[in-house]
Symmetry: C2
Subunit: 598 residues, 2 copies
């Protein structure tokens, strides 16, 4: 039975450490462990057999470092295919009589992707694709990306794996004692990003022991309905007389395995320091347990590298900062032309400080290489602020460049009901795991009535779902006309919001300020219209968060629409403001990990 079938029905046990056992069996320090797949196949198979005897349902190939750039450290860069295929073949031979599954282990590159490091998306993609393809050709049952500390790298790996073949993929991260990965990602954010990249399970492995992982596992169970793999080390590594020692006994590990199953985890194993005895104890402890049902509902979730932003029809409405857009802004246009990002970075920080949960990024300047400009803007902003980005362009190439470079789950602004738009934008959202703003216009233009806009939204939803994108990742913009030109358009836009939420269950967004075009003192019109739209159920708005009245309207309307329960956020904000006019506190450190470390 396939991994996908089994993981839905059973609690699975996965094996423990490979490296420790190879060292015990003579692997010299400084030797390439992956090379033993060819030079010492009997040792590899012996280790696999020990874990199978201990009761593992899944064994992991000895390929953690068998990727081109790491093999190159040993001058083995041309043996990627050979070493991976050998490993899969060895494991399959041993696993077959046990009816066990073979997971192809892939570790991280050991170098950071742009903009944290130097590796480009395309370079990383090629290496992961090469390793995955070798494994798929050899008939691996699933691919296990493990011990990843950077969500950006995991994204590339998952995209490459999806291209390499129709094989189940597990994305397993390493979290430190603070509950974040090395580059600052929390469990929820990790789940949000990988969920849309075709994974069959998400996991945590290595780094710390089971007691340090308990909180991470619990948070993962609350952040996703994906099956969850937990392979802790056998405790925190300690140095005893010059030797690394792991102190968790098999019984301790097994007790934690039971607790993790109670939380909702379903694939249990071990990482550094674990042995077949640990796996045997885990096997014993979980054999009577059953899978805990997990059916949480999640709304539209976006993520930066370090943080998730939720657009929740019952939660606070969300401000999408509009200022990173050169339309009508001479200085920003000039900066984009000159390849600089000074204004971009300043405005990104200012907008987050003013309360933007999401930042729109647009580089639409004529005569400029917008693909390069978008890459520059996305990279400048994503290392600076933790708000997820909204990629704003009509050019699919510009959008794709942004999505390659972005290390989170972005929002694409926008797709619409035109066939040309659907055909080019939806595949990008699918491939790169992005959410979408869908505009209610199609090849016939912007429909006059709310009912017709609902029909366009329904078409968008159907096309999105046909492609396997969950409908909650589509947010509908019902489009604001200019009131001075078309006053009859205002109630249609507001009713479209109501209909789309009621009939389709989708979230809604608006670019509010277009309503006041051509009128004096536009802020007054914008603010009143915004309150009306929020009353109609608007979930997000593209606006200038430094327009104090707009943000005040958002907060007040949240109280009035029951989205700010017991007015807690409103009262907290007002108390802060009264306590000395401090600017609102940014809710997370601007970069969770000091960039110098990287």
């Amino acid at each position: 039975m396939s991994f996908r079938n089994r993981v839905e029905k059973e609690i699975l046990v996965i094996d423990g450490a490979m490296g420790t056992l190879l060292q015990q069996r003579g692997l010299p320090s400084g030797w390439c462990p992956d090379e033993w797949n060819v030079s010492h196949p009997e040792v590899i198979q012996e280790v696999h057999r020990l874990y199978l005897e201990a009761g593992a349902d899944i064994i992991t190939t000895n390929t953690f470092g068998a990727i081109r750039s790491k093999l190159a450290d040993y001058g083995l860069e041309d043996r990627v295919k050979e070493l991976n295929q050998a490993a899969v073949t060895l494991a399959k031979e041993v696993a077959k009589p046990y009816g066990a599954l073979v997971a192809g282990s892939i570790g991280p590159l050991g170098k950071f992707l742009q903009p944290l490091g130097e590796i480009s998306f395309d370079e990383a993609y090629q290496q992961f694709f090469e390793q995955c393809q070798a494994m798929v050709e050899a008939g691996v049952d699933l691919i296990l990306f493990e011990t990843f500390g950077d969500i950006g790298e995991m994204r590339v790996a998952l995209i490459a794996a999806a291209d390499a073949g129709d094989v189940p993929v597990v994305a397993s991260f390493t979290f430190d004692e603070s509950g974040r990965t090395f580059t600052g990602t929390d469990p929820e954010t990790a789940a949000v990003v990988v969920e849309r990249l075709g994974v069959s399970a998400i996991g945590v492995n290595c780094s710390v022991g089971p007691r340090q992982l308990a909180d991470v596992v619990q948070r993962l169970t609350q952040s996703t309905n994906l099956p969850i793999l937990v392979s802790p080390n056998a405790g925190m590594p300690e140095m005893v007389e010059g030797q690394t020692v792991f102190r968790e006994t098999p019984e301790m590990m097994a007790d934690y395995a039971v607790r993790f199953v109670e939380y909702g985890a379903s694939i249990l194993g071990g990482c550094c320091g674990t042995t077949p005895l640990h796996i045997k104890a885990i096997r014993q402890s979980v054999k009577e347990l059953t899978l805990k049902p997990r059916h949480r509902l999640f709304g539209l979730r976006l993520a930066s590298r370090v943080k998730t932003a939720t657009i929740d029809p019952k939660g606070m409405p969300v401000a999408i900062g509009e200022r990173l857009n050169p339309t009508g802004k001479k200085a920003l246009q000039a900066e984009i032309r000159e390849g600089k990002t000074e204004i971009t970075r300043r405005d990104a920080l200012a907008q987050v400080a003013a309360g933007s949960a999401i930042l729109d990024v647009n580089v639409g300047v004529g005569g400029v290489d917008q693909v390069a400009a978008m890459e520059r803007a996305v990279n400048a902003v994503q290392v600076l602020v933790d708000a997820p980005l909204c990629i704003d362009s009509t050019d699919p190439q510009v959008i794709e460049q942004a999505l390659k470079n972005y290390h989170g789950k972005a929002l694409i602004n926008s797709v619409n009901g035109e066939e040309q738009s659907l055909d080019t934008i939806l595949p990008l959202a699918k491939r790169y795991g992005a959410a979408l703003i869908g505009l209610t216009l199609d090849d016939q233009g912007i429909p006059a009535t709310a009912k017709e806009r609902l029909a366009v939204a329904r078409k968008l939803m159907q096309r999105v779902e046909e492609l396997g994108i969950p409908k909650q990742d589509l947010m509908i913009d019902t489009l604001v006309l200019t009131v001075s030109a078309q006053p009859e358009g205002v109630p249609e836009t507001l009713n479209a919001i109501r209909y789309i939420k009621r009939d389709l269950g989708l979230t809604t967004s608006l670019g509010v300020s277009n309503v006041s075009f051509g009128l004096p003192n536009r802020g007054l019109i914008n603010t009143a219209f915004f309150a009306m739209a929020l009353a109609a159920g608007l979930d997000a708005a593209i606006l200038n968060p430094q327009d104090q009245r707009m943000m005040e309207t958002l907060r007040a309307a949240a109280v009035l629409t029951g989205r700010d329960v017991r007015a807690e956020q409103y009262i907290a904000r007002e108390q802060t403001a009264q306590g000395g006019n401090q600017p609102p506190k940014v809710s997370e450190p601007v970069a969770s990990t000091p960039l110098e470390v990287l």
Copy 2:
């Protein structure tokens, strides 16, 4: 056939001057003309017969000054009943063979009512009631209040006439060349006030000639669907060799009569300087004409002495100034206790300057004679500003005192669905011609849902209509709960507005600020809620017009809801504001007639 029947079907001709003809027949200067009803009955009947021969359908009794206070000038104050009944009896005798109707003429007292003069409502009422009652007992066909220059006096006269018996009443005013009555009332305001006081027709007579009245007649036809009487003088009086001369010929008068019928008038005659020849010419000119159908729709109209304010579901939403209310205001409480009106007057002026179309007046201070306090407040405010008043009390006696003293058409704040409230408040609105704010609560309290509040509003509407009050004079307040205590109440209040407008066709009002009770920075919550309510269709709000954000929200929302067509008012206001921060201009002079003149 009765006057009420004939005036619906025919163009009627009413007679001309009585005084001029009596002087020609020997009435000495300084003699009481009304006394001739007893001493020279044959002369009176001769004049009547001349007009009947000329073709009049209605003749007017010789009783213009036969009211107690004017007869007292001749020592005849005890002969009110005798002189009036003699006049009616004489006229009926002569009219009978012609099938003509007898109108009992009643002129003004010649003295101003409080607060413009010294006469109280009750004194004036007694005199008009006495004269009307005498006429009704003698069998008059209709009562014609004519040559009235003060709307306050007309109100009292009409209330007294309604009490004297079931007789048709015509309310005829004198307008000067500027198109206003002596105390400043324009034609629309005159129509709005008398429409609700049981009149069968409204008219203009005396003062100027037909060419000066053309505009007034036209404005009246656009302000009411009541039949309209027009009895001009035979031109403007001129002094020629010490004699008053009227220069309009019968033919000229007849030409104007035709024009007035084309405008929509239906009772044509003449006043000073007109003769049977004029009436004969009018009779000839109109005999082939037919009544012009008049079926205009009017919304909720309120009036001060000088100005009408319309609450129109398609027009600008209206701000009802809330500041003349002592709740929580120590200084205003003290002023009310001390019987002063300094703060009251200052705040009345300030609220009108800030854009209030209507002012709420509340004197609810414990341990105070609120009847006296309300009279004082209403009188202080109504001579100072031209905004109509909203009488805010739960005490029927307090409300009645306000309605007696007020010279316009007031709004009562409020009635509700409790039987006690319906039984006490609705009769006051009926008797004094006031409009009502109806609260959607009843003996079971405030209903939780919008549908239940709609049901209370429907009950209020039915009870109002059963009493003969037109439904458009009922504005519904759907009640705002405190969001911090009952967040689920906000959508119910907003939906109640939608349902009441859609299902009942009534206008709606809210006291907005209650929504934010208990929260910090209440203005933010109030403003956002106000925009939401305006989007739901709110027509009026009780608010502090000096809260700039509330008024800005009102103006912006008017643009967005299509109530400020082409954003004309919004743009004009913004241009004024940019042109040097002037305060908004009060649209009418504060008192249209200098009070010194009175």
